[in-house]
């Protein structure tokens, strides 16, 4: 009875498909990262307004700068939060694509090895 034969062609073909899958995932991760950068670039670069309103009311003269500063801090924080979220989401999406592909590639590699073991 002839023993099992290792099919080198099928193994290499499988390996090639696996690598192709890896490259596709890399391209998709890059696309996701670029989308994130584009979204960041779209964020309005407006700096918080620190203009002090002119008033003759002595109370207002005292409180207006404080209120203006508070508003500027909140506005800056809101802008920073949006930019941080865009960056973090883009990072997570790109890393997620690569991680998903890495898990799939391990399964594919396992299947290739099993097939080769059965064959050879």
């Amino acid at each position: 009875m002839p023993g099992p034969v290792f099919d080198a062609g099928a193994f290499l073909g499988g390996l090639l498909r696996l690598q192709l899958g890896n490259l596709n995932a890399l391209a998709e991760a890059q696309r996701s990262a670029i989308e994130g950068l584009t979204a960041l670039g779209r964020q309005p670069p407006r700096l918080p307004d620190l203009a002090m309103p002119i008033s003759s009311d002595p109370r207002s003269i005292v409180t207006a700068p404080v209120e203006s500063l508070k508003a500027a801090i909140l506005e800056g924080t809101a802008q920073a939060n949006a930019m941080l979220e865009i960056t973090a989401r883009a990072n997570a999406e790109a890393t997620g694509i690569l991680q998903e592909r890495a898990l799939a590639a391990l399964d594919e590699w396992k299947a290739l090895l099993l097939a080769a073991t059965r064959g050879g």
Partner: protein, 362 residues
Amino acid sequence: MRRLLAALLLLALPAAAEAPLGRHGADPRQVSVSGLSSGAFMAAQLHIAHSTGIMGVGLVAGGLYGCAVDSLGPDGTLRSLAALATGPCMAVPARLRPVAAYAGLVRRLAEAGRIDPPAALAGARVYAFTGDGDQVVNGETVRRAVALYQGLGVPETAITLRQGSLPAGHPGHGWITTDFGGVCAAHAPPFLNDCDFDLAGALLQALYGPLSPPVPAREAGLRRFDQREFAPGGATRRHGLGEVGILYVPEGCEAAATSCRLHVALHGCRQTLAQIGEDFIRHSGLNRWAEANRILVLYPQASVVTTADFNPPRLTDAFNTNPRGCWNWWGYAYDSRYLTKDGVQLSALWAMVQRVTGESNR
């Protein structure tokens, strides 16, 4: 042996579910919606997406359509940010966009057939409320929501904007009541603020015109229903929906009640059945007006979503949670279509409306 088998069979059955939502034949031309905070944002979403089927909206402390949208891509993908929801939409009005930007988003979505044409809004009625003591959602967001409706063609005469203080004080963040809940200026659960003001009556009359004075609600009118049939695959929690909703059925609106109206009332964040029990449902004041005026009141329920609700886990899960049980107005639970008719929660709410009006075969 037979008893043992019967006992095992009983154990294998799922826990007793609530009854399905009833079909009541309510008048489909008299459907309105309102909500508090995240419920207000969702009310605007439901109204603008289904403007041909909803005649009026009540916005309490929220409600600017598309407020959390960062961009609408050329492929139609909506990208929204939680940071826009918590930043410009709630606390930093200086960073809100001009009304024209939100109107442009509505028009683009309508042109793509993803929401109803805004022309249908010309016949709509709008009531909006913001208290001058609200430190959670800035009043400017509510004013801009009103301006958006004006920009989309709702006549000024059909809009009521109540803002500022009330004789009882400076309203905080909550549904305003005549005699129930925390102090008027409160920002805490149950988010029902006792300001000696009948918000339910003001809102319903702005939408439906003069109504008969309220009467006590009936205990038998409260019907719990199973929301699972309205979630994809019955997976309510994964999509931020509660398992159980409540419908208030006034006397005379049991079945084939074509002269009855339907009002959808959407709770705010941290205000679900699981979080505050039936406080919002029993004490908003809506049921009393509903009983006197043959208005069915639908109280759908949202739910908390945590990273544990996503399987398999992904690195982006943290951006898709809903820790406070809010309605989806920033695209959580991986629902980038949340603003449109295809949005998971919006589809569920619309299916509930169609069930109660008898407009759907489901």
